[in-house]
């Protein structure tokens, strides 16, 4: 923060700001269009068999052949992802609070968390199927497992990073621990919590797909496994594109939420 800023930092609406905003949208779009064109050109110029690498047109055709079916499968994956993510938030944040509040509990819980996190999640997937069958439950649990750790770590770090002067301030007012927590520590941790949530949401979709690979009868992961079996590469690509869309929408949804809920955070996103 510069000492003498009286204007709202980075939120003016002059022509240069409008141009910046236009650039921040147009450049990524341009990059994407460019990539798709190069991909298309490559499939044409090198005459690549669509069985190996389908052209963008093949992928699009594969989607438009059965859009209802693919959107249904996307919805299944999306729901698993969001449910697992929300479960991780609901469990992760209270555990982070416990870790941040008590040194003893931190020493008990932290190594356990590290051990659980160090197990490759793909290795757990088959066991989850054994325990919970082919329904949604193992997918939600897998998403939870992937999301849980970054949420706990970031939240705990945020809760422990209360600036000394703010801690002194509430102390000098004779506040209770609860007051200090709700008035200062927790709000102060929120930007870091958001970092954890954004990391987690990117992993969430991966978790859902892993679980679907191992045993499922629905979802985009299931579609990809099926298309592999029938050598329908274009369908696999279409599914992957849909997964990408889900990931991006969820991530930017969280970013937008952050901007609405935490307008006081310095712009560094």
């Amino acid at each position: 923060m510069t000492a003498e800023t009286l204007t709202k930092g980075g939120r003016g609406s002059g022509p240069s700001v409008r141009r910046d905003r236009l650039m921040s949208w147009s450049m990524p779009v341009l990059g994407m269009i460019g990539t798709v064109l190069v991909w298309w050109a490559a499939t044409v110029v090198f005459a690549i068999d669509p069985f190996l690498v389908p052209s963008p047109a093949d992928v699009l055709a594969s989607f438009t052949a059965q859009p209802g079916y693919l959107l249904e499968q996307s919805w299944v994956t999306l729901v698993e992802t969001v449910e697992g993510f929300l479960l991780a938030v609901a469990v992760g944040i209270p555990i982070a609070v416990v870790i941040a509040m008590s040194k003893v509990l931190e020493q008990i819980v932290y190594p356990l968390l590290l051990i659980v996190n160090s197990v490759p999640k793909v290795a757990i997937a088959p066991i989850l199927v054994v325990w919970m069958g082919f329904g949604q439950a193992p997918k939600i649990v897998m998403v939870f497992l992937l999301c849980f750790f970054p949420i706990v770590i970031s939240t705990a770090a945020g809760l422990k990073s209360t600036p000394a002067e703010l801690a002194d301030l509430v102390k000098s007012l004779g506040s209770t621990r609860l007051q200090a927590f709700f008035k200062v520590r927790f709000p102060n941790a929120l930007p870091q919590v958001m970092v954890g949530l954004k990391t987690a949401i990117s992993l969430a979709v991966i978790g859902a797909v892993i679980a679907e690979f191992v045993g499922a009868d629905a979802g985009l992961g299931f579609v990809i496994v099926q298309s592999g079996a029938s050598a329908d590469t274009a369908l696999a690509f279409a599914s992957m594109a849909l997964l990408g869309v889900i990931s991006i929408v969820l991530f930017y949804g969280l970013s937008a939420l952050e901007r609405i809920l935490l307008p006081w955070v310095e712009d560094q996103r």
């Binding site: 003498e4 800023t5 703010l166 004779g174 935490l262 307008p263």
Partner: protein, 256 residues
């Protein structure tokens, strides 16, 4: 109002024991404005934190208003070197923080908050966020916050030292004016001679390592004081010079 009796403070550090304060005794009267000056490491901030109940002396007693200081109290407020504003709260809500924590009457104090903000020239900025304010404005908000519960004692730990020289003088003048309007006992830690002379009824000079009470200088220059030209410029200069000699070591080979 404030009584410090035989205060000593020893810190245990990795390099061994550090004698921070050694047998400091001081009495501050009601509505008096006392500045503590001294070089870095003379324990002046430590002394202030003891009065605030943020720290306990190794030996000696601290009383405020006749009662021993055991922990932070409502009638004593503390202003820090940093503005320490909550970035997610508006200016008004920052000023209201002590009211919430101390569970005081909100409506009455909201009116007081507006009055205080007007007093420091921040009327109209109530809805702004701290990051939209300059350093000087942030420190003004911090001042309002430390006055909101109408404390008997206001402790200030180098509150203007992070500001540029002009803003700093401006705020000192403002603090003088506020002090003349509000009945408050103020202890103000600084290493600025100018600030000490401008603000204090008495200047307490501490010697460094271990912090000992070196001298107390009465400043009987009429208020409001300024550093500019006025009828008392000579006396401001004289007291400044005296303080300067106490704080700066005599030049080598010179005689005092």
């Amino acid at each position: 109002m404030i009584e410090l009796r035989h205060i000593s403070q020893i810190f245990e550090t990795r390099e061994g024991r550090v004698h921070a304060l050694d047998d400091v005794s001081l009495t501050v009267g009601r509505n008096e404005f006392v500045t503590l000056v001294g070089r870095s490491g003379c324990g002046k901030s430590t002394l202030l934190r003891m009065v605030a109940g943020l720290q306990k002396p190794t030996s000696g007693t601290v009383t405020v208003g006749g009662k021993a200081v055991e922990k932070p109290r409502q009638d004593v407020s503390f202003m820090f070197q940093k503005a320490a504003l909550l970035p997610w709260r508006t200016v008004l809500d920052n000023v209201m923080l002590p009211v919430e924590i101390l569970r005081l009457d909100k409506d009455a104090h909201r009116r007081r908050a507006h009055e205080l903000l007007e007093l420091v020239g921040l009327a109209g900025f109530e809805k702004r966020l701290p990051r939209e304010l300059s350093g000087g404005m942030q420190q003004r908000v911090s001042l309002c916050r430390s006055l909101i519960q109408n404390p008997d004692v206001l402790l200030m730990d180098e509150p203007f030292s992070a500001l540029d020289a002009l803003t700093r003088e401006e705020l000192s003048v403002e603090l003088q004016r506020i002090k003349m309007e509000q009945e408050t006992t103020i202890v103000f830690v600084t290493h600025s001679i100018e600030e000490a002379v401008l603000l204090a009824d008495r200047v307490v000079v501490l010697s460094p390592r271990p912090g000992r009470l070196r001298q107390i200088i009465e400043v009987d220059i009429p208020r409001p004081r300024t550093l500019g030209h006025n009828a008392h410029a000579d006396r401001v200069t004289a007291v400044s010079a005296e303080l300067h000699e106490l704080l700066m070591p005599a030049p080598a080979g010179g005689h005092r």
